[in-house]
């Protein structure tokens, strides 16, 4: 059997099979479940590294299965998909560790980790999907796999959040399907090609193409939390911390952003977008989301809700970067896809630690946490500085490329938007850091002594530290070829053809 074509399948299966096995495990089989979980993660990382090195050397990984007439089920490992796969695999390892620590002793863990693995395999499948139909397929599976995680606690609020989440994502998925059907009726569903495959249709179907674009972007906009469709994200914060960490920092939100990148570059292509003059509405929408998200984050008193609204605004950076169609802006957008994931997951881990160890949910309860939980607080501070875009962090790199891309692509107003957004970020993150470090500690709402030597359970502490270090490394060592920045440059110059 041809290894090159089956590798993508194995990557998707490497989290699917453990997931299905875990479903069948009884609740007390702790050891087996952890080995399955971590084993799946490590195997996936190995395979991804193998494919990463292959793609760098120019290999082609292509798997095809007959699915619908005119559009088959394709898994295609190219540079862009690999970046997202690498991001989700690494963060899945970290989050699994965190989840095992977080859910110590709570019921229904087999079900949780089962759906957890399904969700990651859906994300990876979505990244590797080679044409629009397979993308829609994994997009829907992602919704179904993430829903049980959002309602894992089973309380009334989590159910209400779950309903709202489903209402948004299912209708988004359906609208996306409508768009895909429209394009499929025009040209079938060929493989994603750099420069898109719609230019021959431009002459007589421009109206339909615009409608398709609106449908696709609305469908993807739900998961990418664009302005009017972001309502579900803050509500979904009621989910347990590892869920809100992985899903709302990496899997679900990034799936939407990744989808927009695919649609803009590999379906429509740069020149079709310009001829149909579709770029400025997307830029306006993304900018509006950025500002709105940050402004609403200011008003939130609950820590996780503030982080959620900050996610709403940060993810639109990616959309903004991609929508400006400039090569530098594209690099900025793609690199921010990775950086925001790592930074936001750190913040969610720390928020989870504060909630789990000291029972802190509101921001005013954070006074003086720096003394009680120094490591988590440092990680939180680094994450926050990254979000604001202070130098020496990953946030700075992506903001720098986005801004210079904006100038290069001829959108000076976007620079203003980025600056205001950074100011707003500072306004809602710095008071939190100020409370953590500079105010005397009151008595904690529900203090728990989770571990003798460290401030909290080691499994809860290690992940945020790892990702915090990653933030700084990605910021400082952005030049190395391992860094997401150079990988994004490789993607842009290899896949987004600018003639």
């Amino acid at each position: 059997m041809d290894w090159n074509s089956w590798l993508p399948v194995f990557i998707v299966l490497s989290s699917l099979l453990p997931g299905l096995l875990i479903f069948s495990l009884a609740e007390h089989r702790f050891a087996l479940r952890t080995t399955l979980n971590l084993g799946g993660v490590l195997v996936k990382l190995l395979l991804v590294a193998w494919m990463w090195q292959g793609v760098k050397a120019g290999e082609d990984y292509y798997f095809e299965l007959p699915f619908l007439p005119g559009g088959s089920f394709i898994l295609h490992g190219d540079a862009l998909s690999l970046q997202f796969v690498l991001l989700s695999s690494v963060l899945w390892l970290v989050t699994t560790l965190y989840a095992i620590g977080y859910l110590e002793g709570s019921p229904l863990r087999s079900r949780f980790f089962g759906y957890f693995s399904l969700c990651v395999s859906a994300t990876v499948g979505l990244a590797l999907s080679g044409n629009l139909i397979s993308f829609v397929l994994f997009y829907e599976l992602l919704t179904l796999a993430t829903f049980p995680l959002v309602v894992h606690r089973g309380t009334v609020e989590s159910l209400r959040a779950g309903r709202r989440y489903l209402a948004y994502t299912i209708s988004g998925g359906v609208v996306l399907m409508l768009g895909a059907a429209l394009l499929h009726s025009l040209t079938g569903s060929p493989v994603f090609m750099p420069g898109g495959y719609l230019s021959p249709l431009l002459a007589e179907h421009s109206g339909l193409l615009m409608l398709a674009f609106v449908l696709l972007i609305t469908g993807l906009g739900v998961k990418a939390a664009l302005l009017p469709l972001h309502g579900w994200l803050p509500e979904a914060m009621v989910a347990p911390a590892p869920v809100s960490a992985l899903l709302h920092a990496v899997a679900v939100v990034k799936a939407g952003a990744f989808g927009i990148v695919r649609v803009v570059y590999d379906v429509f292509g740069v020149d079709v977008m310009q001829q149909l003059d579709l770029t400025w509405p997307l830029v306006m929408l993304a900018s509006a989301t950025i500002l709105y998200g940050s402004w609403r984050a200011l008003q939130q008193q609950d820590l996780k809700r503030r982080l959620a609204y900050s996610t709403v605004s940060q993810v639109s950076y990616v959309t903004l970067g991609v929508a400006m169609l400039g090569p530098v802006a594209a690099v900025g957008g793609l690199v921010h896809l990775v950086h925001q994931g790592v930074m936001k997951i750190t913040l969610f881990f720390c928020a989870g630690n504060f909630a789990e160890t000291l029972g802190i949910h509101k921001i005013r309860e954070l006074n003086g946490v720096g003394r009680r939980m120094p490591l988590s607080s440092i990680a939180f501070t680094l994450g926050a500085c990254g979000m604001i875009g202070l130098p020496a962090t990953a946030g700075m790199i992506s903001k720098w490329y986005l801004a210079s891309g904006a100038l290069d692509a001829g959108y000076p107003l976007v620079l203003l938007v980025l600056l205001t957004s950074s100011a707003l970020n500072a306004m809602y993150f710095l008071p939190v850091i100020y409370r953590i470090w500079c105010l005397p500690a009151g008595d904690w709402p529900a203090p728990k002594q989770l571990s003798r030597r460290f401030e909290t359970h080691w499994m809860l502490l290690l992940p945020p530290v790892i990702t915090a270090v990653l933030i700084v490394l990605m910021g400082l060592l952005a030049g190395t070829d391992l860094s997401p920045l150079s990988w994004s440059k490789l993607i842009v110059e290899r896949e987004f053809s600018y003639d």
Binding site: R160, R296, L298, Q299, Q300, Q301, L390, P391, A392, M396, I397, K399, W400, A403, S404, L407, D408, L415, L419, S422, A423, L424, A426, M427, Y428, L430, P431, W437, C438, G475, L476, L477, A478, G479, T480, D481, L485
Partner: protein
């Protein structure tokens, strides 16, 4: 060191500084060491917040001097300005926290402006990240104003100084010494590095900058007189001195090509002179407020004042003379008014010095504990460095000698004497200042509070969409449909469908 680029962030490049920048790096390093030594003995070591901010600020300050690329410089600059916040709020009192908040808001605002400015410059130089490449690109009004604002907010001359008189008094003595001595100079260093001298637009704006310098100089000095606390007076004196430093920079920009190297050196000398004397004065003020001043302390205190008022024998005299000389070189050669303004400046600085001396003597309480020896040693090192400046700076000696000529002594001497007379008359004879003018509270704190309120508002929870209360009507409709009317309704619909369709087709 190009291979750094492949390791660190894109365009990362550091170089050992030589020429004027080396001196700048030298006195900054000296300042940080002395302040570190002083605070080592006076500030308790377990204050993690203070020490982490102190070390981060130091690293940032030194980094920005070494950086050859834009991102490196910006990294150092941001690190320094943001971590200085930790120093300002160290004491934890209400005033310190308010000053800290104002400082941080303005620092962040300055940061963003600088970010935009650097971006526009890099874009103008189409993507080149080395600072040297940026010099070639032409300045646009937007970029220039952003640069001036960004670095000005850090340098603290007249219109952008509002945070300085609040932050320095709130910070502990060594911190404010470093703040005044090294950190605000970084703003000036930025202006010097990023604004190319020969730019056409710059030459157009120079007269306005000149006005800015002198207004900052006079404003700082006069306002200092209104205040009773020594640290506030010193802060305002820094504002006025920054005016003079900006003047040196303006002269550097306006000087002809051949004279530019000399002008650069003059700028650095002035910066070094001011750094040493201001940090010594701040240490002195700090010591005066919480320790007993021994006799030799008074001497160590007097020499910076002498140097401040540019009396002969001091580095101040040499630098001031150099400044007068330079006035005559560039495009301002024919502006006759400038030398006069300089002398008025000297007069106001002298007045300020006397005011300061009076305040220090007033505050002196013999009952306070003795200053620890390491702290006094570091203070002494600073004073000696300032004292011996003409010696280890050989190029400064010709100017120093000329300042010692009788004409120089006379020119430097009369303003000090006149100021002494005026101050004595004002304190003892003339009408005292009306009470409302004493220690005026700056309106900036009010604005900062207003800004904080608008970003920490309470959000009202939106009410979930109420589910429709149709249960009653539905139950009635179902009961009617299933009990009585199902059969007649269904059969009549059947027939109606047939009839309707027959009519329609």
């Amino acid at each position: 060191m190009t291979e750094l680029q492949t390791l660190l962030w894109p365009g990362a490049d550091f170089a050992v500084p030589e020429g004027p920048v080396a001196l700048w790096f030298g006195f900054t390093l000296l300042l940080w060491l002395c302040a570190g030594l002083y605070s080592f003995s006076t500030i308790n070591q377990r204050k993690v917040l203070y020490w982490s901010s102190f070390s981060l600020a130091m690293v940032g300050n030194l980094l920005l001097l070494l950086a050859q690329d834009v991102l490196g410089f910006y990294l150092g600059f941001a690190l320094m300005s943001l971590s200085a916040y930790g120093l300002v709020i160290h004491s934890g009192k209400g005033a310190a926290r308010r000053a800290g908040r104002l400082y941080l808001q303005l620092a962040i605002f300055g940061e963003l402006l600088l970010f935009a400015a650097l971006l526009l410059r890099v874009d103008a130089a189409d993507g080149a990240l080395a600072i040297s490449d940026l010099q070639a690109a032409a300045l646009t009004p937007l970029t220039l104003s952003l640069l001036l604002l960004g670095f000005g907010l850090k340098a603290g001359f007249f219109p952008l100084h509002i945070w300085l008189p609040q932050a320095h008094p709130a910070a502990p003595a060594p911190a404010s010494a470093v703040l005044s001595g090294a950190m605000i100079k970084a703003g000036l260093f930025g202006l010097w590095q990023f604004i190319p001298a020969g730019d056409g637009l710059l030459l157009l704006w120079l007269p306005w900058l000149l006005v800015l310098c002198f207004s900052s100089a006079f404003f700082g000095a006069l306002l200092a007189l209104l205040h009773r606390k020594t640290k506030v007076v010193l802060a305002y004196s820094s504002v006025s001195q920054m005016g003079y430093l900006l003047l040196a920079l303006v002269l550097y920009w306006s000087s002809p090509a051949d004279y530019q190297a000399q002008a650069a050196w003059l700028l650095v000398w002035y910066a070094c002179h001011h750094a040493l004397l201001k940090s010594a004065l701040f240490l002195a003020a700090g010591t005066a407020s919480s320790y007993r001043l021994q006799s030799w302390h008074w001497l160590a205190l007097l020499w910076p004042l002498v140097s401040l008022t540019a009396l002969p024998l001091s580095s101040g005299a040499a630098v001031k003379y150099g400044l007068k000389q330079e006035l005559g070189q560039g495009i301002f050669a024919n502006w006759s008014l400038l030398p006069g303004l300089l002398t008025i400046g000297a007069l106001s600085t002298a007045l300020l010095a006397w005011h300061l001396l009076a305040l220090l003597r007033e505050q002196h309480q013999p009952t306070k504990p003795k200053l620890p020896s390491t702290a006094s040693f570091s203070w002494l090192v600073l004073v000696l460095a300032s004292l011996s400046m003409p010696w280890w700076l050989t190029q400064l000696q010709p100017l120093w000698w000329q300042a010692l000529q009788p004409a120089g002594i006379l020119a430097a001497g009369w303003p000090v004497l006149l100021a002494a007379g005026l101050y004595w008359w004002w304190q003892h004879g003339g009408r005292p200042l009306p009470a409302s003018w004493q220690d005026p509270v700056s309106p900036a704190l009010g604005w900062s509070l207003w800004l904080k309120s608008c970003y920490q508002t309470q959000s009202s929870r939106q009410q979930a969409w109420p589910p429709p209360q149709w249960r009653k009507q539905e139950r009635r409709a179902n009961r009617w449909l299933t009990q009585q009317a199902l059969l007649p309704l269904a059969s009549s619909t059947l027939l109606a469908v047939i009839l309707l369709l027959w009519l329609l087709s």
